[in-house]
Amino acid sequence: MSLILFVTLPLLASFLTPLFRDYLKYISLALHASLLLLAFSFIGMLPITETISFDSPLSISFVLDSASLFFVILFISIMILFLLYQIKESMSREIFILTNMLIASVSGLVLSGDIFNIYIFFEIASITAYILTSLNRDKKAYSGAIRYMIMGSIASIFLLMGIMSIYLNIGSLSLVTIADKFSTIDSSTQILILISLFIGFGIKAEVFPLNFWVVDIYQASSNRVNALFSSILSKAYIFLFFHIAYMLHIDQKLMWFLATMGVISFAVAELSALSSRDTKRIFAYSTLGQIGVLFIALSSGDQKALTGAFFLIVLHSITKLMLFLSLDILNTQFGSSKIDIFSRFRSTFLVILFAIGFLSLLGIPPLGGFIAKIAILEGLAYIQSYYLVGAILIISLVEAVYFFRLLGLTQKDTQRDPVVISLYHKIILGSMALFIVYLGLFPESLLAICQSVASSLLGAGHV
């Protein structure tokens, strides 16, 4: 079995669209199930390097180590949950093709072993995201998509500039060779390359000061698309960002700079969420905040903190998928995304889902988020970055304020309408919530996996 199947199968399957117009949802589910099986079949054979060569200098290489396998499995599982959620509705051709493109491009992003292929998959993922944003086809959707494209174009120009400077100075595009020879480049060129890559990847990884546009995109697109952005796309870019950072062995001072950017991202996002009156924007700010936490943890370089970060990535993907899909039910029923819809619905089920999601994101003990936060804080305390520990704890209080305000609105004594949720949707959403509780009670097996992923990321560039 070849690694290239992760990219080619979804793209080839898209050509089935005109033939099986009525069965697209089943094809999509079967495709992702077989990709998941394919991913599982590689367990125990790691690491694998695969090179597809045309003529001697031109080749494509894919690398599968425990970190990339972890992300491929995570993305495909999230996608399967997403598809299962809407299996009872008919699937549009656009969604079928775009979900396939999304899975192909994010798999390519995490698997690629050379930096130019990363650029190609970066662009495929971007194009997919632009079209997903515009799917509603109204004023807001096109306005969001155009903003997204402006930022995406800036990102791709800077990324291309960085990749070209790397090739001009090193004469190779392979990540392993770049990791090997990067320290031999003179320091001013190094800084130029790092700035270009930081702007290129930073815009997409949604870190301060390059993330001011993200919330508008979330507001423009539908909640289901937001679920995909928040749980799959942003995670792929964050992994890529730190994969390359660890590959290039960047300086401790620069890692400290990334951690500070993480703190500012976290603080600015949570403070903006406090003043926001739109539920989509609040959830988007919360995603940005969690990305800030991930930046703090991943830039620490400590095994324990990284383990916590990967645990948080799994947990945040599932939590945000659940929260955005629940929000979708509310937004569709009331035709509004204003904050007051939380005081207009009557459904114990949804209140419990929101409570589990919010409390887990905050890191309240019996839930999964607690395990992730405590591992991150332990790791940061171990490397004596006490100010980062303090920052996370203090900013989490701000996070608590708006989460509890939302939960408070659900308990307010007002005129309420019942919410119609089908039993099937209840089962899917409920099982996600149960999984979050389960991860909080029995985190050991996932923690062990996250630990091996963390050591694989820390060992990147030492091949």
């Binding site: 200098p57 190609i120 194009i127 515009s134 004023k139 306005s143 969001g144 001009l168």
Partner: protein, 128 residues
């Protein structure tokens, strides 16, 4: 008389200065223009500058383009580096796709709102 102009170092200098000028034109245009069409055309200009620079820096006087045919089946030393050429060809295709997509978004946006100015895009934000 023109021999000194036909040397690799001179050509590299000229290409560097020229492409940085084009890059500056593109980036300044993207930052200062208000019309959405002009913004995206500016991005296309900036990208073109990168293409010219990258291809130009790998050009050396006396070498030929790395094109394989039935008779020439291997890259040889009298050809320029084939990797940048392959890279830039791929990038041009991507750039065209992105530009076409952006222009189609702008047309659709204009049909719905009758607006083409980036400053007047106020559909998104708080209180809406």
């Amino acid at each position: 008389m023109f021999d000194s102009f036909n040397q690799t170092p001179f050509l590299h200098t000229a290409i560097t200065i020229g492409s940085f000028l084009i890059l500056a034109i593109g980036l300044v245009g993207a930052l200062t223009k208000k019309n959405l069409f002009k913004i995206f055309i500016s991005f296309a200009i900036a990208e073109t500058a990168l293409f010219i620079y990258f291809i130009g820096m790998h050009f050396e006087v006396g070498k030929v383009a790395p094109i394989l045919t039935d008779k020439v089946t291997q890259f040889s030393t009298n050809m320029v580096d084939p990797v940048p050429q392959a890279m830039i060809l791929t990038t041009i295709v991507i750039a065209i796709a992105v530009l076409a997509l952006s222009l189609s978004f702008i047309i659709n946006y204009f049909k719905l709102t009758n607006n083409m100015e980036v400053d007047k895009m106020d559909e998104l934000g708080e209180d809406r």
